[in-house]
């Protein structure tokens, strides 16, 4: 059996085991209407999909994540590169990044809502906020980690300052950037749910909140599973991307 088939087989078996344990727990251990077994949850999921409600929520949440994430990365990568490359920029901006990264996006929800209302802007702001600092720090660390001999080798092959940056520092930093983006993506999931719980008209967070209000326990589980699967799929996609770029760079990543 090749390793890809083994991986996929492992995933399927792992999930099947999870659902089996869940089923047994619901049947024999907890035995409460507040903890449904997998089957009513799946039935509910089918209904929600047929009505188009689940897709709507998923698309709303994912669109926000994607927009905020791309915005945050688009800001974070150049700032991180500048921070890692130029000492004055580092001295100036490092206090910012060191300060803001300890103020979690979740704590910014209230300000975001006051500033931007409960529409798309506040969510995109929060996701961009949670993304940007992680990406900055990872990118700057990547620039700092470019081997001295790689720079020197290019210098004595005649590289200009710009060529050093574009042809050595930048490609050497790509795996770090992608790793930072992957971490940021995980944060984005946490943030979007919290933001939608507090202030939103749609999305998975809103679905969770409404379900709690009306005691639709199955809906809660559907939303939770959807989040898990989406996060899992996005993270896998990122891992594949990092492999594709970095596999040749650094076999340990």
């Amino acid at each position: 059996m090749n390793s890809r088939a083994a991986t996929i087989g492992g995933y399927i078996a792992g999930f099947a085991l999870l659902f089996l344990i869940w089923h047994l727990a619901a049947l024999y251990l907890v035995r409460s209407v507040l903890f449904p077994s997998p089957f009513p949850v799946f039935e509910r999921a089918v209904v929600l999909i047929e009505d188009g409600l689940l897709q709507e929520a998923v698309i709303a949440s994912m669109r926000r994540i994607l927009q905020g994430f791309l915005l945050g990365s688009a800001l974070g990568i150049p700032i991180g590169l500048a921070l890692g490359s130029f000492r004055p920029v580092r001295l100036l901006l490092e206090p910012w990044t060191e300060f803001f990264r300890f103020i979690p996006a979740v704590a910014m929800i209230t300000v975001a809502v006051i500033w931007f209302g409960i529409g798309e802007e506040s969510k995109i702001f929060l996701i961009a906020y949670t993304t940007v600092f992680v990406v900055i720090i990872a990118t700057a660390a990547g620039v700092g980690a470019v081997g001295r001999d790689k720079i020197r080798a290019a210098q004595c092959l005649g590289a200009s300052k710009f060529q050093l940056f574009a042809l050595v520092a930048l490609p050497a930093t790509v795996p770090y950037i992608l790793t930072g983006m992957r971490l940021a993506m995980a944060n984005a999931f946490v943030t979007i749910v919290a933001a939608e719980l507090v202030a939103s008209n749609d999305g998975l967070g809103k679905m969770l909140w409404d379900a709690r209000l009306f005691m639709q326990v199955e809906d809660i589980f559907v939303a939770l599973i959807a989040l898990g699967l989406l996060g899992f799929a996005t993270d896998r996609a990122f891992r594949l991307l990092i492999r594709a770029f970095a596999g040749r760079f650094n076999p340990t990543m």
Partner: protein, 255 residues
């Protein structure tokens, strides 16, 4: 006129632990086409001398001239082969690594590919140009480094213990190849090693350094033996013993 002139070159490092005089009053002239081996005990300042000549570090005393002009920083006229292989670009193929300097100069893709393939053959890696550094052995990586430096056609090749991390067999093979390449290309080479046999096998002159602090050139031994060198010949043994005696005094100074 000498290709390279070092005149009373010194280097004192200043850091948190105070000042450390690594090299003192180092003077040497290298003629075009010679293969000069710099030999010395660990920490005597060999790499420091090479780094100053490469332009990575500035001397704190004396001056360094290349073609009569002072060295101010690194440049394409001095190709460097580094001790480790961290200097290769992991994201490029072997061929693109070799062609990197040509790419910096804006040579067209097809043309630099042809040049790179020629140098791949020169270092015995014909047909392996599509591999990435992570797919190459240690000896192959050093070959790529040598090819990369040569493809850029520098005035002088600076090599810092390029075979230091290789097993004895691979080292011997690469020594022979380097000797052939040097004979064919006529390049001037400054080669650092602490392996006496390697120095005698490759060079036209061996410079032995005094140990630090204040490492300096202590003696220069000409090696007038024909190439290819016969390592068991009387002449080889004699030179070996001569250099060995000079090094021995540095390792055991009080005997």
């Amino acid at each position: 006129m000498a290709l390279v002139t070092l005149e009373g070159v010194g280097k004192t490092f200043r850091g948190r632990t105070g000042a450390w005089e690594a090299v003192r009053d180092f003077s040497l002239e290298l003629a075009e086409g010679e293969f000069f081996c710099l030999l010395g005990t660990s920490g005597c300042g060999k790499t420091t001398v090479l780094n100053m000549l490469a332009g990575f570090e500035a001397p704190t005393a004396g001056r360094i001239l290349l073609d009569g002009k002072p060295v101010r920083g690194p440049g394409a006229d001095r190709g460097v082969v580094f001790q480790g292989h961290d200097s290769l670009y992991d994201w490029l193929t072997a061929r693109d690594n070799i062609a990197f300097g040509l790419r910096l100069r804006g040579m067209a893709k097809a043309e630099r590919r042809a040049v790179a393939d020629r140098f791949l053959t020169m270092v015995g890696l014909t047909g392996q140009g599509a591999k990435h550094p992570s797919e190459l052995s240690g000896g192959m990586k050093q070959r790529i480094q040598i090819a990369r430096a040569l493809a850029n056609d520098p005035r002088i090749l600076l090599m810092d213990e390029p075979f230091g991390a290789l097993d004895a067999m691979t080292r011997a093979v690469l020594q022979n190849e380097l000797s052939d390449i040097w004979a064919k290309s006529g390049k001037t080479v400054l080669f650092i090693t602490h392996d006496i046999e390697e120095a005698v096998a490759l060079s036209t002159r061996v410079g032995v350094m005094k140990r630090g602090p204040g490492g300096t050139l202590k003696a220069v031994v000409p090696v007038d033996l024909p190439f290819p060198r016969e390592r068991t010949s009387d002449g080889f043994m004699q030179t070996f013993r001569q250099v060995h005696a000079l090094i021995h005094e540095e390792i055991h100074p009080h005997e």
